[in-house]
């Protein structure tokens, strides 16, 4: 088990190193010099050069790369070109919106998907199964931002239960903040819940065909007992994979939903930074997201080993 962990951590670090190189290189070749961008079209060559020196853009590439990486390891993500504030502060402020949003959307998706998937699989071919399959088929097809627009129209404008957008901050209390995130979380969760329910259902149906489920039934377990005791845990591998992917997606991919609800999240930060050529912010946020994805993948790997003893052998 320890060796398994060690191998996973090694590959995690390797991925991060390569990813940092890729991000750095791509940002290097991006056209558009931040210094001239910040100063506008009319700035003189001298002022541009002065700003470049100040921002550290005149150093060679290699020292800049190592400066960037070692900074990140110390928690120093540099200073935003545009706002002249530490990137770390900007990011943590945005994470206070994006992280709770992603977590609540994912929780909601799981809470909706599990009963639906289990019910559909245990009553395969029945009415419940058909209804779940029809709803999820639709849920997968609906663009979340379009769904969000109707949520706003109905719950914010017509019935005025929620505000139509914006984020009041956590200062007004936990529930106040959560209330502002409710509609976005629902909009994000619907398609994810649909995908998850379908994956769970089909994975369960596959496992229910396995020989050991038949053995369990020969022991005297009912269909339902066999599903709960023997099929569910074996069906979890693809489900865990999807949950991992969904968390990564929700953290960064809420960009469009953040636009619909005018939420100050990570997605909008990247969006603005790209538009303003605030490349140091872009670099750091992308690295942070890559780190999140890799970390989640790692956690999913550990969950695999917990679910399935055959995976503990370090392969």
């Amino acid at each position: 088990m320890l060796f398994y962990l060690f191998k996973r951590i090694t590959s995690l670090i390797a991925t991060l190193v390569v990813a940092s190189l890729v991000v750095f290189t791509v940002i290097e070749v991006v056209p558009g010099d931040p210094a001239s961008y910040m100063l506008g079209m009319n700035a003189s060559e001298d002022t541009v050069q002065a700003l470049k020196t100040e921002l550290g853009l005149n150093q060679g590439r290699i020292p800049r790369y190592f400066g960037w990486v070692s900074g990140m390891l110390r928690g120093d993500f540099g200073t935003s070109y545009t706002y002249r504030t530490p990137v770390a502060d900007m990011v943590s402020e945005r994470l206070m919106v994006s992280l709770p949003l992603a977590l609540s959307a994912l929780t909601l998706a799981i809470v909706l998907a599990f009963p639906a998937g289990l019910l559909a699989a245990s009553r395969r071919g029945g009415a419940v199964d058909s209804i779940v399959m029809a709803i999820t088929q639709l849920g997968v097809a609906i663009p979340n931002f379009w769904f969000a627009m109707w949520l706003v129209l109905l719950f914010a404008i017509k019935w005025q239960w929620f505000s139509a957008g914006g984020f009041p901050g956590w200062d007004i209390g936990f529930w106040g903040g959560m209330k502002a995130l409710t509609l976005p979380a629902i909009a994000l969760a619907l398609p994810q819940a649909s995908i998850l329910a379908r994956v769970l259902r089909s994975s369960l149906l596959d496992v229910l065909n396995e020989d050991y489920v038949r053995t369990a039934r020969a022991k005297g377990l009912t269909r339902r007992q066999a599903l709960w005791r023997h099929a569910l845990r074996n069906a979890m591998i693809p489900v865990l994979t999807i949950i991992g992917l969904q968390f990564s997606f929700l953290l960064a991919g809420a960009i469009i939903i953040e636009n619909v609800f005018f939420l100050p999240g990570l997605g909008r930060l990247i969006f603005q930074s790209i538009a303003q050529r605030d490349l140091i912010v872009v670099e750091s946020v992308i690295m942070l997201l890559v780190f999140a994805v890799v970390l989640v993948t790692f956690l999913v790997d550990i969950a695999y080993a917990w679910v399935d003893p055959r995976m503990r052998r370090g392969h």
């Binding site: 991925t15 097809a141 663009p143 627009m149 997606f249 960064a252 960009i255 636009n259 969006f271 992308i286």
Partner: protein
Amino acid sequence: MASTTRKRFRNLVPGAFLVVLFFGAAIVSFFYTPFDVETLNIKQRMLTPNAVNWLGTDHFGRDILSMLMVGARTSLAVAFIAVGIGLLFGVPLGLMAASYRGGWIDEFIMRGNDLVFAFPALVIAIMITAVFGPGAVNAIIAIGIFNIPVFARLTRGASLSLWNREFIMAARVAGKNSARISIEHILPNITNLLIVQGTIQFSLGILAEAGLSYVGLGAQPPTPSWGRMLADSQTLTTIAPHLALFPGMVIVLTVLGLNLLGDGLRDWLDPRLRRER
């Protein structure tokens, strides 16, 4: 027997119908649209559906049905070519990885795949379109790049199990090399899987394109696009909800159609399922 046949085509027929419908609309739009989509007519703006403008008009007085027809071109073309990119690069990579299974080439391709998967897709898509300028071509590239590892992984996984089959060993005993076996024996046996995954990626591509054009990074005006029609309608939902309704429904129906088609094809092409029924 009649009922089992019906069951077999339960997903396939409606799926194919929807897909053909929207492809047809896109093709027809090259020759004919009810109204010209580039002519603004402020007097006729925000009409609700009526006998002349079947689906009403938008805030510039353009006919929504015509715009949806022209918009179908962009959406379908972007998603279709993006799937093409995924197939073109992903399948050969996957075949190669499988034929050198366990070797360094395999390891290299698969690690490269993991690396692409580690990047948040939408963020990279936004970066590409923002850096190289918004537009349909960059949207294609942005969506296409993330299709490559999907197809590479699928191809490798499916090929690996085939490489252990006895008919592949028989081909090797007949003196055929890996490349030839990959093309003659592996590829024809994974085509079904690729078609099914292709329709799934196609539908995801439609959603991604809609999202990108919704935030203004897809096809640029005056070319109509479904996503931007939604974005334009957003501030008007209270006074003219039909502006948001129709483009959204078109997206939903296209994606639904493709997903149904994918499920239907899987059921239809899978000989295992066919035998069961």
